[in-house]
Symmetry: C2
Subunit: 215 residues, 2 copies
Amino acid sequence: MKSLRVPEATVTRLSVYSRFLERLDRKGITTVSSGDIAEGVGVSPAQVRKDLAYFGEFGTRGVGYNVKDLMRYTQKILGLDHNWSLILVGAGNLGYALCTHKGFNARGFTIVGVFDNDLSKIGKQIQDLEVYPLEKMPEIIEKYSARIGVIAVPSRNAQETADIMVKNKLEAILNFAPVTINVPEHIELRNVDLSVKLEILTFNLGLRSEKNSSI
Amino acid sequence: MKSLRVPEATVTRLSVYSRFLERLDRKGITTVSSGDIAEGVGVSPAQVRKDLAYFGEFGTRGVGYNVKDLMRYTQKILGLDHNWSLILVGAGNLGYALCTHKGFNARGFTIVGVFDNDLSKIGKQIQDLEVYPLEKMPEIIEKYSARIGVIAVPSRNAQETADIMVKNKLEAILNFAPVTINVPEHIELRNVDLSVKLEILTFNLGLRSEKNSSI
């Protein structure tokens, strides 16, 4: 890999490019230009070239990129050339939704254990997974060599859930609770805020109203 | 507003800054520097200043920003100085999770109608909302002056759901289905991909393994 200091925005776009390339590949398309990728995902062609340049030389001038090669390469960069086992805590509505979310499996993510401390949920079945008590987490983590935990509990339980994940030696946490949690520096933590994208919509609708009212 | 051409990444960060300022305000903190904001949300101080500069002059050199003023201003820019009514289609697990998601209400988003075409779901109650058939959408949109629709249906139904929203004159759509949908140019569309952030984690875990193996 060319450099370890890749901006997170580049990694995010790489994930989007990778999905776009998968779609092209499924359609049987074999070559693609940076312009096509740019148009398909809504960024500039220069941005696509700049993002890919972090990881080396791709494509042939005037010919473009080989779809399958670039798709596999982006998947490899993102760590998606193998499957990942996820531990999920929180068997509420969001937990159910995540367990049945087709987008995870499509990218090689498999939820291998669902945990809750609510006695009314323990023992229930979500798809082919039984909801386990938190005490069973170490066993499942070891069995599947899981490194990533997903937090889908109410905000008030998010920090203690993160603490348990850290104690159980998970290395990365994806937090869906709309609250800030603290973890040691060696843990990779990202928050999924479900309303950030809503606010891009309201920002744009606001601009639109402003435009109309200034006519 | 200074300029209409604000990069989407700036709007996204503004949404994050705004939440951070709300937290400071709740704690009773009255002034903040760009350095504090930067550290609190994980970007550089220069980035914070650059992002805010799109919207005019803020803060006093050597004193910093007034938390309450900047919080209100960022909320106003994002269109969050008033409430937004959301229409939700899809009363499955994800729909339930979104209806009960505390993060929406905290930012002034209220789901005012839940719709599904599944007869086994219509008439059911999610919190204080009854699940309505799709035919009732125009009535609810008019009643609440809703402009934004949220798609929480399975991928195979996402496009037809978007078409119905467009036909019913919604102006913006937030799509949670892991599939590309097409809408006319005048519709604001954003997709929430639940696995993009997971892929940032796997990218970083990949770098880590690489580092370890090269020791």
